[in-house]
């Protein structure tokens, strides 16, 4: 990447300058989601007990059944939390639909040409091929993150609807309850497959350390933004320059609007 020949002074400036990446709504929803997944995933796996499927180990099932006092209590715990999770996420999305969700969807989730290119090169590079090739510059989220986001959104919708079907068992016909089961687990496990990478990249992988802390502070350094999300970084710089131009223009126009006879304000 091009940052190899950035002068040391500039590097220092970039490292200390922070850019806002996540707003508070995103951060809170993210950690709420983390907590719910930590509670729902283990209890959910403990519920799946069909010997014909053999998906979850028997000791795990027994551990949780004993901890909660039987299968019925375990299931009640699972679906009560699940309903809270469904409600809060739906509520947050509806509440912030116009202010957060729509702009987010349009500015950060759409796949463009660079992303397609990235998706072609990156998997091959992970297998050790095409090492010399440069990855195209990336948005606030790289193409891998974007692709996973689609899996998460579709999966979440799948989990929620099928979960509601299985929870309100008196209302829905048996055929729906039968279909809901594979839908529920396939959604869960396709998210989990990506979640393993997501957690590793976010919390353990050294190059992405800033990403982890940004999920608390909401901010990343300009250095990190430039190295990992170049397209987004220059977009931000452009926005900042435009803002500065605006401010300068206002300052330049200021004397025209001062009331007559007033003392000019002391320069700061």
């Amino acid at each position: 990447m091009s940052h190899k020949n950035i002068p040391i002074e500039e590097r220092r400036r970039l490292r200390t300058k922070m850019i806002k990446k996540h707003n508070l709504a995103n951060i809170l929803t993210h950690w709420f989601n983390v907590g719910m997944w930590l509670l729902l995933l283990p209890t959910g796996i403990a519920i799946i007990s069909s010997p014909r499927l053999g998906l979850s180990p028997v000791w795990w099932q027994e551990l949780f059944r004993n901890m909660f006092g039987g299968a019925a209590n375990l299931i009640k715990f699972h679906y009560t939390l699940g309903l809270i999770w469904t409600f809060v996420l739906t509520f947050n999305i509806l509440l912030g639909f116009r202010k957060y969700f729509v702009p987010f969807a349009f500015s950060r989730m759409m796949l463009d040409k660079d992303d397609i290119e990235w998706l072609k090169i990156k998997p091959l590079q992970m297998l050790g091929l095409m090492k010399g090739k440069h990855l195209p510059p990336q948005d606030a989220y790289n193409a891998g993150q974007k692709a996973y986001m689609y899996v998460v959104i579709l999966g979440t919708i799948g989990i929620m609807t099928s979960g509601v079907v299985m929870t309100f068992k008196e209302i829905f016909p048996p055929i729906l309850k039968q279909i809901a089961q594979p839908v529920h687990w396939v959604s869960v496990f396709s998210i989990v497959a990506g979640l393993i990478i997501h957690v590793y990249m976010g919390a353990v992988f050294p190059e992405e350390k800033e990403a982890f802390f940004s999920m608390f502070s909401g901010k990343v350094s300009a250095w990190y933004a430039r190295a990992h999300h170049e397209k987004w970084y220059w977009q931000k710089v452009k926005e900042e320059l435009e803002w500065e131009d605006d401010v300068q223009k206002q300052v330049a126009e200021e004397p025209v609007h001062t009331p007559e006879g007033a003392e000019p304000a002391a320069a700061d």
């Binding site: 190899k4 519920i47 799946i48 007990s49 069909s50 010997p51 014909r52 499927l53 053999g54 998906l55 099932q61 059944r65 039987g70 299968a71 019925a72 375990l74 299931i75 009640k76 992970m126 299985m166 068992k169 008196e170 209302i171 829905f172 048996p174 309850k177 039968q178 279909i179 809901a180 089961q181 594979p182 687990w185 396939v186 496990f189 396709s190 989990v192 497959a193 990506g194 393993i196 990478i197 590793y200 353990v204 992988f205 050294p206 190059e207 250095w223 990190y224 190295a227």
Partner: protein, 246 residues
């Protein structure tokens, strides 16, 4: 207790008169909805040539199999084989009423209670048995056709009846290495070669597809993802990490 209990039914076919008092007693005891029943009496029809005629009735209910196909398919573990007494029971609070087990049972011994959204079946009146009473159907049987007890106890009523029986038959389902090994013994009559035969367990599309396609896909996906993560993590551990990124 030397051995575990294995509750089962012994049914003396020669003594059933098709009064169906057992159906009524069962429905009252277990509050079975009017349009359903947990137990049945099968009329095998007239047999033999005039004037040597015979008519046979076979009372039956859940076979409380040793290897129940219904337990195999139950996803929440709501249907289980009680380890203490060997009865196949349904925890209706855990049941979501998807009906996988109803399709899987070779004896059609289960039904779906749609108003409650759960599956229901004979539970051997465990609530009565635990306080030393007989199941409702057994207690009410006028002919003494139905008997219930611990098949592992050689002195129980059922074991003695089996010992003294002229003929003992079971409606066993045995196919492709799967043996249900039912715990209802029919004595003093013939049930084999009659219309009362087990069917193949039915596995619904969602259940079977889930098992054959989706489970391997899940294992492959999660396994691949874990491998990628593990590779990078071990690389990180072996090669060490730079304090600051260049």
């Amino acid at each position: 207790m030397a051995e575990k209990k294995r509750y089962g039914f012994v049914i003396d076919i020669s003594r059933c008169i098709d009064c169906r008092a057992c159906l009524v007693a069962c429905s009252v005891e277990n509050q079975v909805p009017m349009n359903h029943t947990r137990i049945w009496v099968q009329d095998l029809g007239l047999q033999g040539q005039f004037p040597d005629l015979q008519r046979t009735f076979v009372p039956y209910n859940c076979m409380h199999c040793e290897n129940p196909p219904c337990v195999d398919v139950c996803v929440s573990g709501a249907t289980y084989k009680d380890p203490d007494n060997g009865l196949v029971l349904v925890d209706q609070e855990a049941c979501i009423g998807c009906g996988f087990c109803v399709d899987a049972c070779p004896y059609d011994a289960r039904y779906l209670d749609e108003s409650r959204g759960v599956v229901d079946k004979c539970n051997g009146c465990i609530q009565r048995v635990e306080i030393g009473q007989q199941p409702a159907c057994v207690a009410t049987c006028v002919g003494g056709s139905r008997m219930f007890g611990d098949l592992n106890d050689p002195n129980s009523e059922v074991s003695i009846a089996l010992k003294n029986a002229s003929k003992v038959e079971r409606i066993d389902y045995e196919k492709d290495g799967h043996d249900t090994d039912p715990n209802i013994y029919f004595i003093n009559g013939d049930v084999l070669g009659t219309s009362l035969q087990p069917r193949d367990p039915r596995y619904t599309v969602s259940e079977a597809g889930w098992k054959k396609v989706l489970v391997p896909a899940i294992f492959a996906g999660i396994g691949a993802s874990f491998l990628v993560q593990a590779t990078y993590f071990s690389k990180q551990l072996v090669e060490g990490e730079k304090e600051f990124e260049e």
